[in-house]
Amino acid sequence: MTTTPAPTPRQADGGTLAPVLSTRPRPPRPGPFSVSLTFAWRSMLKIKHVPEQLGDVILIPVIFTVMFTYLFGGALAGSTGAYLQFLLPGTLVMTVALLTMYTGVGLNIDITKGVSDRFRSLPIWRPAPIVGALIGDVVRYLLASALVVGLGVAMGFRPSGGVVGVAAAEALILAFSFALSWIWTLVGLVVRTPNSVMVGGLVLLFPLTLASNVFVDPRTMPDWLQVFIRVNPITHLVTAVRGLMQGTAAAGQIGWVLLASVALVAVFAPLTMRRYRNAT
């Protein structure tokens, strides 16, 4: 129990509450897009108030970029500069992929704290809190990407695809990450605590990002691992992103990533919404 030293506010008493109660008719109900944007605005406010929430996940890829480049770059690719050209698109994908699990963490916090009850009791488009959070997350992904690319450029990353190539690569990463986030929204609704979302996220995302072509060309790896790497969507995304950044992307690579994104949304969005509607 907390008591504030401030003087008792008398305004809230019954007698004087009347003027503050609205007698105007309620405004027209906003559309799905408008409410989703309102929830996206909420995400922006959270970045403003709690910027440290981005910290740990960005730190990992930044450490990997710096460490791998300078420790192994020479050995793996002949020079640190050459390795960075290969590595950076990979760590960029890794950064954003790791960030996606925070969508689930955020949703889980909303439910455990009870805010989600308020949202679910409002007459609004039901998926809006989730869709809005995802839109807000895209902004986070952009911020984190800018940081990683900026670091890369400072270290000597010079993509031959130029600004256009990098922008196209970023767009592809965002599309895929938006889709991947729906896995975490489902996880966020199923598990009990925000912490278990994190654990689940890392258990899935670390193998996905490490057992891929993020750090090295998988040709030297054992066959069984190569089988996994070939079906790993992260591998395909990294290949396409490298292609776009170097200006050598094939339509097939990009198409594969987009297809995987659509498939993820098609499976996990309905599952998420079903779970959300019946959340307890």
């Binding site: 509450l17 709690v50 409002l122 007459p123 039901r126």
Partner: protein, 342 residues
């Protein structure tokens, strides 16, 4: 996928034209979580414009019932109509008429008080400027203007609760659900919340509130339903309920807790009823309707040499209500165990 059952405009203001004057009518509501039947066949009839109290200990099924009525949970069995709309088939129409203030203040702790209210106002369709203006009005009225720019996580329990209620009345609801609005609040904050509830009722809003405290139900509610283990075990006006339980109870405080066994024997003999030992070792209580008998019993006590620090005749506690209605005490949540004698 989306529930777009829009409210027919003709019924927007028209609860009065409805077949009944009931804001809530539920029959046979039931909800199970796994093996536990949290709510096991609840019937309710809440008249429009009244304050209806839902009284029961933790885990009795109050919150589950409210969540079903507020369309957050789908009932396993039974039906409920809120302001004339079915809570399952016309959930959206219900949502656009009611507000919910959850048991744990449902505000976003990361956002400031101002931002919380603007957020909900925007979701309800206010323009940016309107939302800001409305937020300011409410913050002012609820004594939160000075903390408007602080994150809600820095608010005290009472402030958070007021912010929560403010968010619930951005648009005046026809019905408001308040789930344990004062649990964990200090007395002053309780009074403020009660004042807000009375203000809402004065404006014609129907209130359904849950509480663990008989006193609170007594202060606010026109009618009370006592719920235990998922079932309504008694229903009526405050007067009717109290008559059911007995008019009041006697609380006796001893100067020396060591004399309690002696005091218990004497009291139960002269009152001719069981005496309840409170968790405070110096405190005993007994339900007694008859002042004559009480006077006699107190005289007996002093004759037998038991030194009294004080005594009081008052309302039965929730524990006593339960004992009277069910024959078993409220189940041991430490919070309810602290319920003191009057």
């Amino acid at each position: 996928m989306t529930e777009t059952t829009s409210a027919s405009p003709s019924t927007r203001k028209g609860t009065a034209d409805a077949q009944s004057e009931l804001a809530i009518e539920a029959s046979g509501l039931a909800k199970a979580f796994g093996e536990t039947r949290a709510v096991n066949g609840v019937d309710l009839a809440v008249p429009v414009g009244s304050v209806y109290g839902f009284l029961g200990p933790n885990g009795a099924g109050k919150t589950t019932t409210i969540r079903m009525l507020a369309t957050l949970l789908r009932p396993d069995e039974g039906t409920a109509r809120v302001l004339g709309h079915d809570v399952v088939r016309e959930a959206d129409a219900v949502r656009s008429r009611v507000s919910l203030t959850g048991q744990f203040a449902s505000v976003d702790e990361d956002l400031t008080g101002q931002e919380n209210l603007v957020l909900v106002a925007r979701l309800l369709g206010f323009s940016r400027a309107q939302a800001r203006a409305r937020a300011r009005e409410l913050l002012e009225a609820f004594g939160l203007a000075e903390s408007a720019g602080r994150q809600a996580k820095l608010y005290s329990g009472g402030m958070r609760r007021r912010l929560d209620v403010a968010a619930s009345i951005i648009v005046t609801p026809e019905l408001i659900f308040l789930d344990e609005p004062t649990t964990g609040l200090d007395p002053r904050s309780c009074n403020q919340v009660w004042g807000i509830v009375r203000g809402l009722v004065a404006q014609g809003t129907t209130v359904l509130l849950t509480t663990q405290y008989l006193d609170e139900a007594d202060q606010l509610a026109d009618r009370i339903a006592v719920i235990d283990r998922g079932v309504v075990i008694a229903e009526g006006t405050n007067g009717e309920l109290k008559a059911m339980v007995g008019s009041g109870s006697l609380g006796v405080r001893l100067r020396d807790p060591g004399q309690r066994p002696e005091a218990e024997r004497t009291l139960s003999r002269s009152l001719d009823m069981p005496v309840h030992l409170e968790s405070d070792p110096a405190l005993l209580s007994a339900r007694s309707a008859d002042p004559e008998r009480v006077a006699h019993a107190l005289a007996e006590l002093s004759r037998s040499g038991v030194a009294l620090a004080g005594f009081a005749l008052g309302q039965p506690s929730l524990d006593e209500v339960f004992l009277a209605l069910t024959g078993h005490p409220t189940q041991g949540d430490p919070q309810t165990d602290e319920e003191d004698a009057p």
